[in-house]
Amino acid sequence: MNQVVNIARWEYLTRIRSRWFIISTLLIPVIMIVSMLVPTLLMTSEDTESRLIAIVDGSAQYGHLFEQMITHKYELKDGRPKYQIILLQGRDYAEMKGQALELLDSSLVTACIIIPEDLSESRELRYYAKNLGNFKDQAELQITLQDLFIRQRLVDAAVSEEVIDSVTRPLNFTLMEIGKEGEEQEADELLSFLTPIIFVLMLFLSIFMSSQILLRSVIEERMNRLVEILLSSVSPTQLMAGKITGLGLLGLTQVGVYLVLGQVVSTFQGYAILTSESTLFFLVYFVLGYLFYAAIFAAIGSIFNSEHEAQQASSLFSLICILPIMLSSYVISDPNSTTSVVLGFIPFITPFIMILRIGVEMPQLWEIIASILVMAVSVVLAILAAGKIFKTAILVYGKRPTLSVIWQWLRT
């Protein structure tokens, strides 16, 4: 036990003083948050360039009205219209269409909308663009056309201008959330989406930074053969336990820094991102997730001869863990669906999914307890298996053991 403490202290102290550790601990979250926020901010920010849109108007009715409507509706900061329309009408439909597509092809216009002759019956509009990923523009154009169409049909039906205005006036849709004490407050859509993601990214980072350091530390000792001296002083089990403990405490320190920073930011901003509950769960899932991955990475480190080789195996596991981040939009949108609940019980991703779910909406108590149990059992199994591999592999150099050899070690 004493030796485990000695090793843990050594691993912790030599790492925590490293300048790179301090820098990356502080910088990585900043980089991650910035890289998440910047695109979102850019997408929601005002545009500075107006777009040329070609309209082929087969109906000889809507094109002109659309031009009037859209140029007034959306304006750039400097007052110029956001959309400028090149209207093609009154000639042969096919010829106009060909001409419009040529304009698009030569990039003179950013998009081209085809309004057919029989819009009232077919209700079919076509939108052509080189970039079909500009959802914001598409939505604005679509809403305006829809609006125009409804208006025009009402005018055709001889409904009065007043009624039309009152019918087509948009509804306000305010997002509200209910706080802890039942108080209502206006919600920030962006924030309620980002909070769980920030949490899961922080968890991912803390777990993987510590596990990667563990992996590197095992490989370093294997490569410089210090492991021979170490193992003439302590048992492999003590060595592994000491390393996992020391670097786990390192990870906890990192988590502590993040939680304090989070608290400072949320107090400063007036948002209650961190609650004592979410902090507690974060710590619980960090410890479980870290122990699980640390065991796996310690075993990987004991098998491979160089960091380069091991990196390939470890990146496989890191990829598995990116899965929850990729699934995050789904889990956030529907945290209590059967899929979300089931995902929360898959050991490799349990901590991440559960933190996501907790960040959105507190799951049922049984789900939390069950997920912790699943994780605890997985941790025990992972540590037992890793211990067996580590003990045998740590001093084996040269040829890397095959999977079947490793399987034999596990069975002994």
């Binding site: 490293s18 210090l226 021979e228 170490l230 193992l231 003439s232 002083s233």
Partner: protein, 298 residues
Amino acid sequence: MITLQNVTKTFNHTIAVDHLNLKVPKGSVFGLLGPNGAGKTTTIRMIMNIMQPDSGTILLKERPLLRSDFRNIGYLPEERGLYQKTKLRETIHYFARLKGMSAHAALLRTEGLLEQFDLLGYADRKIEELSKGNQQKVQFIIAIVHEPILVILDEPFSGLDPINQLKMKEVIHSLHEKNTTFIFSTHQMEQVEKLCSEICLINAGQSVLEGPLATIRRNYGAIVVEIEFQGDREKLAELPLRIIELSDQRLRAELNDSRQLNDILPQVIQRVTLTHFRLLEPSLEQIFIDRVKGSSKS
């Protein structure tokens, strides 16, 4: 101190150590000699419990080694490395602690050794800033920091300059005087002749020659006589000697034993004018080469 009985280790159908028997007496400086690939490092790793023998037993003071015994054993592996990013003083201190020393004792001992090895000035430097020779001294310090009763050194002098070799030998001597047992492996024979009291010569995993160095010299080494003379060298060629070298002024030849000299010298004097003669001690290197060649022939 250490006894190996019938120890065998095989790697992928190659026998590295083949039914090896060894007896390292307490307080001895024991040299494990052999050419590259003879099984020296494997033997040491088995003693250090880094590898398990396939068969045979390794005993410490007539009983199997326990994990706790390793607290009293120091080890310098053949392939060397250290943590590069940590400071000298704290690295030595860490290994002393791992060997079970109290924090205070470890600190005192670390300071003492740093001073003894002229490393105090580097104590707070990172190890990567040290020269290779100094790093090697640090590794040696780690092997002896906990005042072990047995120190195992695998090729300790390779890569060290003469001054530092001398320093290391001094320390080995002074520890030896305090009854510390040393085992070291080497293929550098001069080191062994100067340091060892006992040797074991192994080749292809088997012991070829074992015992106190003096006995081995007496029993296995051919005595060489070197004679310088003036006169006709052809007259010497007819002497009943195993001649190694015969030139215009010099004759080198092997004697069966030292008594033969009494018969030979008068005959030499009769034939030529003797200007100088001396007996050469059998060199371990010659014994080594003879035995290794002999054993690979058989």
